[in-house]
């Protein structure tokens, strides 16, 4: 299936020839990994020994895996050149003020668990810093991918968030995980890690939030195991600084009858790549994989999703919506695999983009690979602009142009916003758009 390259009336890149002005990406085939590997030794001096062997294995893997280039299909529209050219340092331990928690929360500042800023976890849940918990499941899900960035994250595995909800435990209050980056003059890199395990018939809601100031690189990996009959609602709020780099792999494995919902809300960052991978590992499971990305200025936001229907009788629903203003560049690449035995699969994918400027660009690429014959799979993509008739209608009622635009933008995003079950996050999104 070929890529659809769609945009405003501004820049035009012919199919298959997206290039930065200098054609920089193509010179990076044998890219230098030392920007990251030269931090290993210093990191180990401070790191916990718990994951020493795991780090070692991951480093070997990182060394063996080629870094992605725009020549490959999966990174065709996103160049990682800025990551290799920015000299990142390991972050220093800093303390930051933070408003008191309203619910259970785990806070990480510059990659380190901040106990003082965190709040108690709900009863019956084993949760805290990965440095303190023996989590046998760690890295089992993430190691399924051959992503060098995932291997790189594991190469720095020492701390992170761990939430284990035992069988039958139902947690009503959302648990928030906060990752903050605070560089001190020089750019820093952190490798946030989350492990969320929901046991048989367990239920939990987890908010993963990224914040920061200045120039830094967040290379996050989240592993989620949804047990048999378990219900997990996951919301990621990416509010990085507008000079941050954010690459994240959120990887989910679902047991039979499991129910998983993901809302990937991508709001900040200069260069962002959100990967979400869902694999069905049991029958009669259901996944909802939604996303909303808002980009302006020169932000580049790449959403890459993989839904792997490896087992029969599962359903996946995916809606991604993007709002691109100014010279922002969006990418949506949604893969759905339906394996040979995965009969009665029901997979829906929708991707909608609102271009608020003629200079904003979107590249979308649905990719359905279906090897079973008795399945229901649909996908659709639309790209549009604000409707002049709607704008005029609002203005004729006294609503100023700028407000009318924001109102219509919110209307576009609203069906994603409304699906987020957490009221405070809905309010936050409305505030942000309107």
């Amino acid at each position: 299936m070929s890529a659809a390259n769609l945009r405003g009336h501004g820049r035009h890149y012919p199919e298959g020839s997206l290039r930065s002005p200098a054609g920089l990406e193509d010179n990076l085939i044998d890219m230098d990994k030392t920007n990251f590997t030269n931090l290993f030794a210093a990191f180990d001096r401070e790191a916990s020994s718990r994951y020493c062997a795991l780090r070692q294995t991951a480093r070997e893997r990182f060394a063996a895996l080629p870094l992605p280039t725009t020549r490959g299909e999966d990174w065709r529209f996103t160049s990682i050149a800025p990551l290799l050219e920015t000299p990142f340092d390991l972050p220093a331990a800093v303390s930051v003020p933070l408003p008191p928690a309203v619910g259970p929360r785990l806070v990480f500042v510059n990659g380190r668990y901040a106990k003082g800023l965190s709040s108690p976890m709900p009863n019956g849940v084993r949760a805290g810093s990965l440095a303190d918990i023996d989590a046998i499941q760690i890295s089992q899900i993430a190691s399924e991918t051959d992503s060098p960035f995932t291997a790189l994250n594991s190469s720095f595995l020492s701390d992170g968030a761990c939430i284990i909800v035992p069988d039958g435990v139902v947690v009503e209050t959302p648990i928030e995980i906060l990752f903050m980056s605070r560089p001190n003059g020089k750019p820093i890199v952190t490798h946030p890690r989350v492990l969320l395990v929901a046991g048989k018939n367990a239920q939990a809601t987890v908010i993963e939030r990224y914040l920061g100031d200045g120039v830094y690189f967040t290379n996050a990996v989240t592993e989620i195991a949804v047990g048999e009959g378990a219900v997990v609602d996951h919301v990621k709020v990416q509010s990085e600084s507008d000079t941050a780099y954010h690459i994240a792999n959120t990887q989910i494995v679902m047991a039979a009858k499991a129910n998983f919902t993901s809302h990937n809300l991508s709001l900040g960052g200069a260069l962002v790549r959100n990967e979400v991978r869902v694999r069905f590992d049991g029958e009669h499971a259901e996944a909802t994989v939604n996303g909303l990305y808002l980009a302006k200025g020169k932000q580049h936001v790449d959403n890459f999703t993989v839904i792997d229907h490896a087992k029969p009788n599962c359903a996946s629903h995916e809606i991604y919506k993007g709002v691109l203003a100014d010279r922002a560049h969006g990418v949506f690449n949604g893969k759905i695999f339906v394996r040979k035995d995965a009969q009665k699969t029901d997979a829906k994918q929708t991707n909608k983009v609102l271009l608020l400027s003629d200079d904003a660009t979107i590249n979308t690429k649905p990719q359905l690979e279906i090897f079973a014959d008795d399945v229901k799979c649909t996908h659709g993509a639309t790209i549009g602009q604000l409707a002049a008739t709607q704008l005029f209608y609002l203005r004729s009622r006294g609503i100023p142009l700028e407000q009318a635009r924001r109102l219509l933008t919110f209307a576009f995003a609203n069906d994603i916003v409304n699906r987020v079950k957490i009221e405070s996050i809905r309010a936050e999104l409305e505030e942000r758009i309107v």
Binding site: Q390, F392, Y393, L394, R395, R397, G398, I399, L407
Partner: protein, 244 residues
């Protein structure tokens, strides 16, 4: 209140309005009738600032101010309101959100404080009753899934909430059955006052049985070719637009 002088306007290089002259005083109701394509909606669009039209000559004064220089939202703030011939659907925005944004924008323009949610709701509920609007109206998205009649009533409802000085109704009666038309006419009549003027664009004189105009104008090929009292509408009904 409104003075239109020698107004010429184009759409896509086509001359549509070709020298309109019209004066509307407070308290007056003017009906504008005319065949399809004569320029009635164009006139309404030019008065409210729709950008598909370009004015090539003439001027429009609203309470002494140059209306044509104002953005659509400023005109609304000054008190000009158009009940659309084709009301626009806005999925994803509820009527209450939209109306409150609208009311407060207009109040802001007039230098009045914004209405809080409670006072807004009080005003709106009362007007809903007068116009027999469905209970769930406020929660529903603007005009989405509304029947033709509901959309037209919603226009009049918005008008009642915004209390403009000049109301322009563009074929608000078309597509309405007789009961719906009466409901709309009642709503409009309730808004008639000595300070408020109305321009009622219609194709049929039956609406004018319910909203009785002070003046009737016939628009043809972009010009007002005839002006009379309410009797003119009946004459037109009997003899057609060309039967002078």
């Amino acid at each position: 209140m409104l003075t239109i002088h020698n107004l010429h306007a184009k759409v896509a290089d086509k001359d549509i309005l070709r020298g309109i002259n019209l004066t509307v005083n407070p308290g007056e109701v003017h009906a504008i009738m005319g065949p399809n394509g004569s320029g009635k909606s164009t006139l309404a669009g030019v008065l409210t600032g729709r950008d598909a039209y370009s004015v090539t000559d003439g001027e429009v004064l609203f309470e002494g101010k140059n209306l044509l220089d104002m953005a659509p939202e400023e005109r609304a703030g000054e008190g000009v309101f158009l009940a659309f011939q084709y009301p626009v659907e806005i999925p994803g925005v509820s009527n209450s959100y939209f109306l409150r944004a609208s009311v407060n924008a207009v109040r802001k323009h007039r230098g009045e404080p914004e209405l809080d949610a409670a006072s807004f709701l009080k005003v709106v509920k009362q007007k809903m009753k007068v116009l027999h609007m469905p209970e769930d109206l406020l929660k529903r998205p603007v005009n989405e899934g509304f029947s033709g009649g509901e959309k037209k009533r919603n226009e009049i409802f918005q008008m009642a909430v915004l209390e403009p000085k000049l109301c322009i109704l563009d074929e608000t009666d078309s597509g309405l059955d007789i009961d719906a038309m009466k409901a709309v006419a009642d709503g409009v009549n309730a808004l008639r006052s000595k300070d408020r003027a109305m321009i009622v664009i219609t194709h049929y004189q039956r609406l004018l049985d319910h909203i009785v105009p002070d003046f009737v104008h016939v628009l043809s090929q972009g010009r007002i070719v005839k002006t009379g009292g309410k009797g003119l509408a009946l004459e037109l009904e009997a003899h057609g637009y060309s039967g002078n």
